[in-house]
């Protein structure tokens, strides 16, 4: 008997995933992680919270309707340490991390997976839109979902073979409208809910407020705005208030539009430049994780996504020493942001990813 733990959030995707697994005859256990989150009273009041009592009650009711056991795991401590603190630390270094990547690597497919395996489960299933296929040699391949706008392979690209061998994405073969239809046909009471948000631990979705309240002292210290040749143009209001590629709200006058090029946290300088200076036709990534487990020996024609919502663009990937990667882009990109994932594809096959270094 194959046992599958399904990570349930109370939302439509994971609920349909659970229902499909039950229908397919697996022994299914529902689990929900209680993640660390701010109080709902902070900021403008919590509409962006995850794992609220409501969602927990929804998940519990769905599990009960499906006839499967349901447990809530206290994940607050490890989530606060590995995700929330990481988010703060990275921003303090002028880097804009993607916490969902880190969460899938360290929380979902490590902490939760270990708990699932300890429960005697064979697989961990989630409600992600991504597909798994098997190569002839038994290697598991991660592929994009059928609809590009729903595809979540980006945030799963950090998973290794060892983890993907234990993963299931039951709704990955379907589109969102199909999933909503299935929810209705399963009688699940969640068919019209909206999608969950990134940065689930924020009380109000305002990460700058969160950093101001929780970051190290001096994180929002004002400092100079300078051009690449060192010319001082004005004063910035604190580096975390800016993102790379930002044009509006700089408050400096110049002959042509200026863009944020770099957050120089060491000297507390905001480096700006022209549109031409912003464009980059290369980047490097670190902590490369190759899904096949094999690091390519020769340069590779790939498509790269530099953000969750970015379009894949053609590039030449050259592995470097120390798990690093050089990417030569066919056309310059304007928003290469250190800390975000650089995720590599060949058609719908996800090859792996690294963290953008510069």
């Amino acid at each position: 008997m194959t046992t599958v733990v399904v990570a349930m959030s109370g939302g439509v995707d994971s609920s349909v995933a659970a229902a499909l697994l039950v229908q397919q005859g697996y022994t299914v256990i529902g689990m929900m992680m209680r993640l660390w989150a701010e109080d709902t009273t902070v900021g403008n009041g919590g509409h962006n919270r995850c794992c609220t009592p409501d969602q927990m009650a929804d998940a519990r009711r769905i599990a009960s309707d499906l006839g499967i056991p349901f447990y809530v795991l206290d994940t607050r401590e490890v989530f606060r340490r590995d995700i929330v603190q990481f988010f703060i630390d990275q921003h303090a270094e002028g880097v804009t991390p993607n916490p969902c990547l880190a969460c899938n690597r360290h929380i979902r497919f490590e902490w939760l997976l270990n708990n699932a395996l300890a429960m005697g489960a064979d697989y961990l299933a989630t409600g992600h839109y991504a597909r798994l296929t098997h190569a002839e040699d038994g290697t598991v391949e991660l592929r994009k979902a059928y609809t590009a706008e729903k595809d979540q392979s980006y945030v799963l690209s950090v998973l290794t073979q060892e983890k993907l061998q234990r993963a299931m994405f039951p709704i990955g073969e379907y589109t969102k409208p199909q999933v909503r239809e299935m929810a209705a046909s399963f009688g699940l009471p969640v068919a019209s809910k909206s999608d969950s948000q990134d940065l689930c631990f924020l009380g109000d979705g305002d990460y700058r407020r969160f950093l101001r309240e929780n970051g190290p002292a001096g994180m929002f210290e004002v400092g100079p705005i300078v051009t690449t040749d060192g010319q001082e143009l004005g004063t910035h209001t604190g580096l975390p208030n800016y993102t790379i590629g930002q044009r509006k709200g700089l408050g400096v006058a110049a002959a042509e539009p200026l863009y944020v090029l770099e957050l120089d946290t060491k000297a507390n300088r905001l480096i700006v430049g022209t549109r031409d200076e912003l464009g980059r036709d290369w980047l490097t990534a670190k902590q490369m994780s190759w899904i096949s487990g094999q690091v390519p020996i020769t340069p590779l024609e790939v498509e790269v996504k530099i953000r969750y919502k970015a379009h894949p663009v053609p590039a030449l990937a050259t592995p470097l020493d120390g798990g690093r990667l050089h990417l030569q882009l066919n056309d310059p990109l304007r928003d290469v942001t250190p800390g975000q994932g650089a995720v590599l594809y060949q058609d719908d096959l996800c090859l792996g990813s690294g963290i953008i270094e510069r």
Partner: protein
């Protein structure tokens, strides 16, 4: 496999109890307050139940108050007596202890926070015991209510209630005991115990959920926590839940009649469990008092073990257990009881309670002893040091 070892949480309703209750749902459905025959029939059932319980507790029938649960009994007793005594100008000092069930603990906190009472929480020793001397030292001229539980729900320790009540009485102070966990397992003679108030809950001794009893010694000043049509001598208004009242009385009657048989069985099962666990598992301690403890109650603390995880894994293997820190919504706090007993953070998430019942067999215990070591081992591998 299906082994239920959570009888301190609740017990199944005894078939004989169910049978006694059934006619009072749709056959004898009258309101006991009504004048007519229908009402008289129901009233007679309630009064029979009251006499049955009074007989077992060794008190007068009009000293028995029916409530909706053990928590309500505790609330009525502690808040009712505290407010009545203060109104009479006797003072506003209360005494309890940190290991009480929250029905008493949080009622005391509320009285402190909102009503300006002053509460002393007696220190407990590493087994959860409290001596008469400790209570004596805390007594003040303005102490009006002492509330100390007969049997602890989390660690099973039995307090020397008769001696503690005597201390309170020497100061003219009202003494309440929460005996919810003790129903059916300890002789509840209120004269021998010397208490002024005693709380019970039906579902802890094979009766139905949703019904409780509060014994109130005649002459104990009490302000009702629920006012209305003056049911239950004006202390607890609300239409009587006749079938449940019939049920709790029948359940207590059975528990009393079969007391020796059941408690002997509980003790045999409990001791088999305790000896087996202490012999076969590393880094585990029995919590509570090894000698003076509830017959059905075995409780442990495991080092570097997340009890929440342990309970889930035991559930998956068909074993129902519980813990002082486990929580269904994923925010288990370190057990306050284990903290009060002096355990540090390597231990306070690791409480496990196994409570046996009438249907528990030696084979059940042996299965648990077989499964528990590997389960604890698996859970310990997941221990995250903060």
């Amino acid at each position: 496999m299906s082994i239920y070892l959570d009888h301190s949480a609740t017990t199944p309703v005894d078939d004989r109890v169910l049978e006694a209750m059934l006619p009072y749902f749709s056959q004898h459905y009258g309101n006991p307050s009504s004048i007519h025959q229908w009402g008289q029939m129901a009233e007679a059932a309630v009064e029979r139940a009251r006499r049955t319980i009074a007989g077992i507790l060794n008190c007068r029938p009009d000293e028995i108050i029916f409530t909706s649960c053990g928590s309500e009994s505790d609330n009525l007793a502690v808040r009712g007596a505290a407010v009545a005594a203060r109104h009479a100008g006797k003072g506003r000092h209360l005494i309890t202890q940190p290991l009480e069930h929250s029905a008493v603990g949080k009622t005391c906190r509320q009285l402190e926070t909102y009503f300006d009472f002053d509460c002393t929480y007696l220190p407990v020793d590493s087994q959860g015991q409290i001596t008469p001397t400790v209570l004596e030292n805390a007594m003040r001229d303005d102490t009006t209510v002492v509330s100390l539980m007969l049997a602890n729900n989390e660690i099973g320790t039995l307090l020397p209630i008769a001696e503690l009540a005597a201390v309170a009485h020497a100061h003219g102070t009202v003494f309440h005991t929460d005996a919810v966990q003790a129903g059916g397992q300890v002789v509840l003679d209120v004269q021998a115990l010397g208490v002024d108030m005693l709380s019970l809950s039906g579902h802890k001794f094979y009766g139905p959920k949703g019904v409780g009893v509060l014994y109130v010694r005649e002459g104990t000043p009490l302000v009702p926590s629920q006012s209305g049509g003056s049911h239950e001598f004006g202390l607890r208004s609300g239409t009587h839940n006749v079938p449940l009242i019939v049920g709790i009385a029948k359940a207590l009657e059975i528990a009393d009649a079969e007391f020796e048989t059941h408690t002997a069985h509980y003790k045999a099962m409990r001791d088999r469990l305790i000896e087996g666990i202490l012999a076969h598992l590393p880094d585990v301690e029995l919590t509570g008092d090894a000698q003076r403890r509830l017959p059905s109650h075995a409780s442990f603390v495991f080092k570097h073990t997340d009890a929440n995880m342990l309970l889930m894994q035991l559930d998956m293997r068909g074993i129902a257990a519980s813990s002082g820190s486990a929580c269904k919504v994923g925010n288990p706090a370190p057990s306050a009881v284990l903290q009060a007993l002096g355990y540090d953070e390597a231990w306070t998430l690791g409480g496990l309670r196994l409570t046996v019942g009438r249907q528990t067999t030696a084979a059940d215990i042996d299965s648990v002893l077989e499964i528990l070591p590997e389960t604890v081992k698996a859970v310990r591998q997941l221990w995250v040091t903060a």
